[in-house]
């Protein structure tokens, strides 16, 4: 960024740590942006005339005589229609060889929507994946992560969901993305011929980790522009939020904050909530839907990152490899979409909620039968039947490569009910039995 006349320049650092430095300066605003030896930095603490900055690219090689230039403003993004189809780095500078984007300069991480001005989300997002549409239906304005092991194909599934979701804009916030994954997204979008609807802010593993802290807010600021100014349906993809949190902990630990659980800062909940709560349905039709990825370490969801995330988001999706059918499924037990009840049975067929619950209950019975079998006990006739049901249900409904509409998912499930169970075992309200249980 070019130096301008009114900017304050200092050249004497008092302190340098791994991610931060301090300088004596006056008239500096909290959260103000600066450069330290050309590296972008942000004010995180002011005590009298001592200003502490967090340097996004790290402090390696920063000398006490480094030049510090304060910009007099917090991080900003220039927003306009021209963002569409472009790829940027964490600072919002183009990485696709194209020109800088002109537009209105807005502060990132801006104010929250007044809750009374929100509209209740009510538009179903169809993805063709039954583990989502049937069991964990997504709604515009929702925020939901995939809780995934690092070796699971979460980015592929996320790209698939994004491309089928009929969004006006898809904004990718990539944090610590491997170069391969970055190229995967790029090619997936190119191949689908939707580049004009894509905007990406990408921090790859080759970039400094602390830069990631800017990525979600860049993506969400762009999203707000399209959702508020253009009344568009915007889908924001954030991957991998665990790496974002790791960067948060680097900074807070460098600032000698008392870490809470799993060496995460005590403010982790608030920090994550500020991002995820940007998901919103506006009255004029615009919306921001956030689908994120939170990778787990060793499947542990009690770790502070997935735990705090779960308390903020409106459900979570788990991928699982079903060894009986050798395919990836969306796990029906632990996955949950909290907003599904706003649309199921209303925007979808009336029997949807009951069919969904019954199938999952029977699937749970199958899991119990399986445990019984593994423990060497005899299986009852019912056990045998639920096990067969579960295999068919996985294969015809849950497998991630099945792409059908919701009515078809419901009909197929009814067929499986009829094939394996009695009416009493299914136990659905009579009014639906009358319509759908035709022998």
């Amino acid at each position: 960024m070019a130096t301008q006349a009114f900017q304050k320049i200092y050249t004497k650092l008092n302190q340098v740590t791994k991610a931060t430095c301090s300088v004596s300066a006056t008239g500096i605003g909290n959260e103000e942006l600066a450069t330290v030896s050309g590296r972008l930095a942000q004010v995180v603490k002011i005590m009298n005339d001592s200003v502490t900055l967090q340097i996004f690219a790290g402090t390696e090689g920063i000398g006490t005589d480094a030049e510090i230039i304060f910009f007099g403003k917090p991080p900003t993004l220039k927003v306009s229609e021209h963002l569409a189809g472009r790829f940027f780095d964490a600072y919002g500078d183009p990485i696709d060889g194209g020109p800088k984007v002109e537009g209105e300069e807005v502060e990132i991480g801006g104010p929250s929507v007044n809750p009374v001005r929100r509209k209740q989300p009510s538009e179903l997002i169809a993805t063709g994946i039954a583990g989502i549409d049937l069991n964990n239906t997504l709604v515009t304005g929702q925020k939901i992560p995939f809780f995934a092991d690092p070796d699971q194909p979460f980015n592929q599934v996320m790209a698939m969901v994004a491309l089928r979701a009929k969004a006006d804009k898809i904004i990718l916030g990539g944090m610590g993305l491997s170069n391969d994954d970055y190229l995967f997204f790029k090619h997936a979008f190119e191949n689908a011929g939707v580049m004009d609807r894509i905007i990406a802010f990408v921090n790859t593993t080759e970039n400094p980790p602390v830069e990631r802290l800017l990525v979600p807010n860049m993506a969400l600021t762009a999203a707000e522009y399209f959702a508020v100014e253009k009344n568009e349906k915007v889908l924001v993809l954030l991957t991998d939020m665990t790496l974002y949190c790791d960067a948060l902990s680097i900074v807070s630990n460098r600032m000698d904050q008392i870490p809470s659980k799993d060496s995460m800062p005590g403010s982790l909940y608030s920090e994550l909530a500020k991002l995820y709560e940007k998901a919103v349905q506006f009255p004029d039709g615009g919306s921001i839907t956030i689908i994120a990825v939170t990778t787990l370490s060793g499947g542990d969801i009690t770790h502070a990152i997935p735990d705090n995330t779960g308390y903020i988001t409106e459900g979570q999706l788990y991928l699982r490899r079903d060894t009986d059918i050798s395919k990836v499924i969306v796990d029906p037990f632990r996955s949950l979409s909290r907003l599904k009840q706003l649309v199921i049975g209303k925007k979808s067929r009336a029997d949807h909620p009951q069919v969904m619950n019954t199938a999952i209950r029977l699937y749970a019975d199958a899991a119990n039968a399986k445990t019984k079998m593994e423990n060497g006990f005899d299986l009852s006739d019912y056990d045998e039947r639920v096990l067969k049901f579960a295999t068919d249900y996985s294969m015809e409904i849950l497998a991630i490569d099945v792409n059908i509409d919701i009515d078809k998912m419901l009909d197929t499930t009814w067929d499986l009910f009829k094939k394996y169970f009695t009416k009493a075992e299914v136990g659905i309200k009579d009014e639906f039995m009358k319509i759908h249980w035709v022998e």
């Binding site: 006056t26 008239g27 500096i28 605003g29 909290n30 959260e31 103000e32 603490k45 002011i46 005590m47 009298n48 403003k73 801006g110 104010p111 929250s112 929507v113 007044n114 809750p115 009374v116 929100r118 509209k119 209740q120 989300p121 904050q257 008392i258 870490p259 809470s260 659980k261 005590g266 403010s267 909940y269 608030s270 909530a273 500020k274 709560e277 940007k278 919103v280 009690t302 770790h303 502070a304 735990d307 779960g310 308390y311 903020i312 409106e314 459900g315 037990f333 949950l336 907003l339 009840q341 909620p353 999952i360 749970a364 006990f377 005899d378 009852s380 009493a424 075992e425 136990g427 309200k429």
Partner: protein
């Protein structure tokens, strides 16, 4: 007035050097380029006041001027709060312009120009004190009492009182004098510092009545007393919010105050959207007419999150002093504790367990102690029943917030991950949960008198069956289906009958979502009569299908209107099915 200058900024902790006296919890305004940012003093060290700012501090610079107000964080109380949507600092959210919240915008919680029909209740010459009733105005359907302000704790004599007529909240409705003859002109507005409990009542006895919530697993198994306290801990997604919403829709209270504390905005929107449409099952009025929402969602400033629960409690105390039955719900009190932790960490205080402040248990128990059933000075009764949710980190109940709350609250509704995973909603664990009120003699007496003569013993029997069912289930799992006597299967399935018919309740079904006590009694007694029966089974394989059939019929009953032809039809079917196998 004391003034100050900003000396340091760490997130929303701002250090201010002051030129005069300041007090703990005093409110000050930081003048950031003409925008006044509200802040509260939370620590004083020499000339430095540590303040938590209720807003974002972005752009704030050292040297910014600060003005102190000489008062603590207060609520403004008067008619017109019903049906309002407030933020944590009691700003009326509907009065704010634009889609986004604007920093430093504070709006009036009351409406100055609204006219109220005032009926005097006190007479000239009456001797009154804080909380005593001067008159009343109809606020929606509530007879809203205009009281001597709570802060006036002496004895006062009424010198004059307004006649029946129309007044705004600013009009003087009474003049009272203290013992020295000093006059106080009173209008309909009073203010109260939120962190202090209102003590304008005569006596706070042990609660002895039960508050119906319409939720069977609570009312039948572990009832909460009117004026009692309870809490709902549970891992994320287990149903804390859904359960609280069900309670708020169906509870037998005059007034519901919902404090959405650091949780999702969409959940509050659900209330905004649904409550004006939904009927109060008892009065037929719209739910919104008996509801006040205090909302500080997770993306709103952290310090205001802490304030929000106190704001809600103070408003509850105000309405209790009118002789009303208030139900206060807070979701989630863990977010409030986390707000305390964030500030305490920024101030580099010595942390207690998990980084929470050392005095967390005291803070929590002081807060819960503000609930309760009271006899007012005029011998009328009022109550605040308080139910909070707790969001334990990692779902582990051995963490500071859960443990502190367990000491403070008398009812414990533990949500179990396992039940939620198998969609056994509401996921309240029938074994771990308890209501201490069920042990109160006065509550037992109340139940046996008002529900059914042997109610308490019937409930205890039902709990025993649940326990025995679980033991049998464990044995079956260890020894195998045919490795245990047939009776184990029977015991297990009897507990399943209670679980699936009484405990499980569909929170989204129009009929099943709320069960009046009369119906709960009917169903429990019906189910217990089946549990008391002996059935003929040849092999264990016959047990499950039979009970599944019974459960299925009972669930159809749950979905049908009570006493409707459908209900009767299912019941007849049930009795017939029972008779088919019953031997004793």
């Amino acid at each position: 007035m004391t003034k100050g200058i900003v000396k340091g900024i760490i997130a929303n902790l701002v250090m201010v050097e002051v030129d005069g006296p300041v007090s703990q919890n005093e409110i000050c305004y930081i003048d950031h380029k003409g925008v006044k940012l509200m802040a509260e003093v939370i620590k004083i060290l020499g000339k430095i006041a540590y303040t938590q700012v209720f807003e974002s501090t972005r752009g704030l610079t050292v040297g910014t001027p600060v003005e102190f107000t000489e008062h603590m964080l207060e609520v403004k109380l008067g008619p017109g709060m019903l049906s309002k949507n407030y933020d944590g600092l009691q700003d009326d959210l509907n009065k704010m312009d634009g889609l986004f919240l604007i920093r430093g915008e504070y709006t009036d919680p009351l409406d100055d120009d609204k006219v109220w029909r005032f009926t005097p209740l006190a007479k000239v010459g009456d001797v009154l004190t804080g909380g005593d009733w001067l008159g009343e105005v109809p606020e929606s359907w509530i007879a809203h009492k205009i009281m001597v302000p709570f802060v006036m704790e002496e004895q006062y004599t009424v010198k004059s009182i307004a006649a029946l007529g129309d007044y705004t909240i600013q009009d003087i409705i009474a003049v009272i004098t203290d013992k020295d003859g000093n006059e106080f002109k009173l209008n309909m507005i009073q203010r109260w510092p939120v962190k202090l409990p209102v003590r304008a009542y005569k006596q706070k006895p042990r609660p002895f009545r039960v508050m119906e919530t319409g939720v069977r697993t609570i009312d039948t198994l572990n009832p909460i007393a009117e004026g009692g306290t309870g809490f709902i801990p549970g891992p994320f997604g287990c149903g804390k919010t859904v359960l609280q919403h069900s309670i708020s829709k169906n509870a037998d209270a005059d007034l519901i105050i919902v404090a959405a504390c650091g949780e999702r905005a969409n959940e509050v929107v659900e209330l905004f959207v649904e409550f004006p449409e939904l009927d109060d099952p008892r009065t037929g009025r719209k739910l919104m007419e008996r509801t006040i929402i205090i909302c500080n969602t997770s993306n709103m400033p952290v310090a205001a999150r802490e304030a929000s629960v106190y704001t809600a409690m103070s408003i509850a105390e105000y309405y209790r002093t009118m002789g009303l039955k208030v139900l206060l719900l807070a979701d989630s009190t863990s977010r409030w504790a986390q707000a305390l932790r964030e500030m305490s960490n920024r101030m580099e205080e010595l942390p207690g367990p998990d980084g929470f402040p050392m005095d967390l248990p005291a803070i929590v128990s002081n807060f819960y102690a503000r609930a309760g059933f009271v006899y007012l000075n005029n011998d009328q009764t009022g109550s605040i029943t308080f139910i909070g949710t707790v969001s334990p980190a990692g779902g582990n109940l051995k963490e500071p917030v859960t443990e502190s709350t367990k000491k403070a609250a008398r009812c414990f509704y533990a949500l179990s991950q396992q039940r939620a995973d198998s969609k056994r909603y509401p996921a309240v664990d029938p074994m771990d949960s308890y209501s201490k009120y069920l042990e109160y003699e006065e509550v037992q007496e109340y139940l046996n008198k008002n529900v059914s003569p042997n109610w308490v013993s019937t409930v205890i029997r039902a709990k025993d069956i649940l326990l025995r069912g679980k033991e049998s289930y464990d044995q079956i799992n260890i020894l195998g289906d045919d490795g245990v006597p047939l009776s184990y299967h029977d015991k297990f399935w009897k507990s399943e009958l209670i679980d699936r018919v009484i405990l499980q309740q569909d929170g989204f079904d129009p009929v099943d979502q709320s069960t009046p006590m009369k119906r709960q009694r009917y169903m429990l007694e019906l189910i217990m009569s089946i549990c008391d029966a002996e059935f003929a089974f040849e092999t264990f394989e016959e047990v499950m299908p039979y009970y599944v059939q019974l459960i299925n019929i009972c669930r159809q009953m749950n979905y049908a209107e009570f006493d409707s032809p459908d209900f009767a039809k299912y019941e007849a079917n049930l009795q017939q099915t029972v008779a088919e196998r019953k031997v004793k």
